[in-house]
């Protein structure tokens, strides 16, 4: 009877419910999540509220780079070409978040699959798979992406793939280490003794166990990817005009910093908000999913 009551109180909570309860207790993570959501919503609907479009030059102004003002409708001002910065910032945010999301997804999928397989199979397979990772590590990041863009031409999809393709290496190493440790655990042995095929053991018994670490690392990867994309755009290898990204806007703004500081301030404020929020959210998630804090 008492046992039943205890079980009822526990409510059949699982790994994720418990993690959510703990995440809700972390105020910083919650605020960060809310702010992030706000930025995402603005990136999606923000441009609708402005009378201007992303490539449109406003000839009616006396100068091309007009400072922010409510009366002109250019809430963040205009850039050196007379285009509305408010629209451009949210279009850029849209692009940056998209790159970040897709590139992180690519790196998570490849990294988890590669790392879990290597760690679980172990032995010679593990050796070869991880040497391959080491070889890719040894190639300079930039060099790799530049070659890719030169060979295949510049396209958005390629940027996602290129960034994801270099980003999965660290993920693979982290997951491999975890899988290596999990392989020795008795429940994996029990699963093998049940006659389950390797792919089922990997997918059902190993991967969900490393997911906590993966999620945390992924939230820390997103800022890296955004910064990397900025860097690529800065070099002219990233997103092309008239589209833009936060990285490009910051780079362009930096050139006009002294004459029109708003060109730098507006996009950097958004970028900084995103990065800070992701870091806080990552911290919160790490604490929430830490097995030592479970129960």
């Amino acid at each position: 009877m008492a046992e039943a009551a205890i079980n009822a109180a526990a409510g059949g909570r699982g790994l994720w419910d418990g993690a959510w309860q703990r995440l809700k207790r972390s105020r910083a993570a919650l605020v960060a999540a809310a702010l992030l959501l706000l930025v995402c919503v603005l990136a999606l609907v923000g441009p609708w509220f402005s009378a201007y479009s992303v490539a449109e030059v406003d000839w009616s102004q006396a100068t091309l780079a007009t400072p922010p003002s409510l009366s002109t409708g250019h809430w963040f001002g205009t850039d050196a070409n007379g285009r509305d910065l408010f629209v451009r910032v949210w279009i850029g945010t849209r692009m940056s978040l998209l790159v970040a999301l897709l590139a992180t997804l690519v790196s998570v999928v490849i990294g988890v699959a590669w790392g879990a397989t290597a760690g679980y199979l172990g032995g010679r397979v593990d050796g070869w798979m991880m040497r391959f990772v080491d070889v890719l590590y040894a190639l300079p990041y930039m060099f790799f992406v530049i070659i890719l863009t030169v060979v295949f031409g510049r396209s958005l999809v390629l940027i996602f793939l290129a960034i994801g393709a270099v980003g999965w290496l660290t993920m693979a190493r982290i997951v491999r280490g975890q899988a290596l440790a999990l392989r020795q655990r008795e429940f994996v042995e029990a699963a093998i003794a049940l006659g389950l095929p390797t792919r089922v053991i990997l997918a059902r018994h190993i991967v969900p166990n490393v997911l906590g670490t993966v999620i945390v690392y992924a939230t820390l990867t997103v800022p890296q990817v955004i910064l990397f994309e900025s860097f690529l755009s800065f070099l002219g290898l990233g997103v092309q005009e008239p589209l833009t990204s936060l990285g490009r806007l910051v780079a362009e703004g930096a050139l006009e910093m002294e004459s029109s500081p708003w060109l730098l301030l507006a996009p950097s404020a958004v970028l900084a908000t995103i990065l800070l929020c992701l870091n806080f959210l990552g911290d919160g998630l790490r604490d929430a999913l830490d097995p030592r804090q479970r129960r």
């Binding site: 008795e186 429940f187 003794a193 389950l196 166990n209």
Partner: protein
């Protein structure tokens, strides 16, 4: 022997390659098990009993190799490829391990843990598998099986977890159950229930191979006992015989080391002097010779073979066995 035994193990050897040397964990083990029979392998930790069991299922660590022959229901398992092993694992031989918490994957619900073997093989539909999971939980006397299915392993008590693990091992209706120290991690009252359940499994006609260092477990459950020492079986006998008249001095010493309720209160427990030899340092003669009171020059020189002894099933590997009837205690 009339019908072919369910499990036939012949000259099984297990080696582990370490960076320094090759460690010989199991040095030639031979035994049989028939359907409906419960055989116990008894030995100290390090005697190789668990590794012998793991070798049968192809579950050795990656640096381990097994030689010899393990035939299960007519199929050779040593050197068999993974596909053959996967048909035997679960559906032919179920495994119950020592620690019930760590043998249940923590993030999966009991329902998933119980039904995944059936569902992955396409042996049952989801609703069918669920019904069988409920039956299996009732069979191991778990209260409120419907709500248990939705729970996670950490929400159950230790004894309940071990019973769930037993239910999981039996879900695919194997012919044989391997139980590796199934009661060691449990407290005494829970032990008794798990042993009752195992006896029930045996009575349903399954073979049960139980590994333990607890002679009390053996006495209540096993039909036959094999005593392992330093990677070899030193004595096999029917349980009653072994307890009443151990032939090998090691068996006798083990029995003497069991605490007794009815005896002189002040009597000290009889330990066995010395330690078992490390695998690398096993002598050419009898491995127990250094700790044996009856050992002589022949014992240290020539290794005694496991020879069939007077009653048909019993065998002992000793040059100086204790007398067959009414052994000295």
């Amino acid at each position: 022997m009339s019908a072919e035994a369910l499990l036939q193990v012949r000259d099984l050897e297990v080696d582990f390659a370490t960076s320094q040397a090759t460690v010989n964990a199991v040095a030639g083990v031979t035994f049989e098990l028939r359907a409906g029979e419960c055989v116990a392998i008894v030995g100290e930790s390090g005697s190789g009993k668990t590794q012998a069991l793991m070798a049968c299922l192809g579950l050795l660590a990656s640096n381990g190799t097994a030689r010899g022959s393990v035939r299960f229901a007519g199929r050779e398992l040593i050197g068999a490829d993974e596909r053959v092993l996967n048909t035997v694992r679960g559906t032919g031989i179920g495994l119950l391990t020592q620690d019930p918490l760590s043998s249940l994957t923590p993030h999966l619900r009991i329902e998933t843990l119980l039904t995944e073997g059936l569902l992955d093989r396409g042996l049952a539909s989801r609703t069918d598998a669920r019904q069988r999971a409920l039956q299996a939980l009732r069979a191991v006397e778990i209260p409120e099986p419907e709500s248990r299915l939705r729970q996670y392993p950490h929400e159950l008590s230790g004894g309940m977890r071990q019973r769930v693990a037993l239910a999981a091992a039996l879900m695919c209706e194997p012919l044989l159950l391997f139980a590796d120290e199934p009661t060691t991690a449990l407290d005494v009252s829970v032990q008794a229930r798990v042993l009752e359940l195992l006896a029930g499994v045996r009575d349903r006609g399954l073979g049960v191979l139980i590994i333990t260092h607890d002679l009390g477990v053996v006495a209540g459950l096993a039909d036959r006992v094999a005593v392992m020492y330093a990677g070899r079986i030193v004595e096999t006998a029917a349980t009653d015989e072994l307890f009443s008249a151990p032939r090998h001095p090691y068996t006798a010493a083990l029995l003497a080391a069991v605490p007794r309720l009815h005896g002189a209160a002040q009597a000290r427990l009889a330990g066995i002097p010395g330690d078992p030899p490390q695998p690398a340092e096993r002598p050419s003669g009898c491995a127990f010779a250094a700790r044996c009171a009856a050992a002589d020059e022949q014992c240290t020189r020539v290794r005694p073979e496991l020879r069939p002894d007077a009653p048909a099933v019993a065998a002992v590997a000793c040059h100086r066995p204790l007398p067959a009837a009414a052994g000295q205690r």
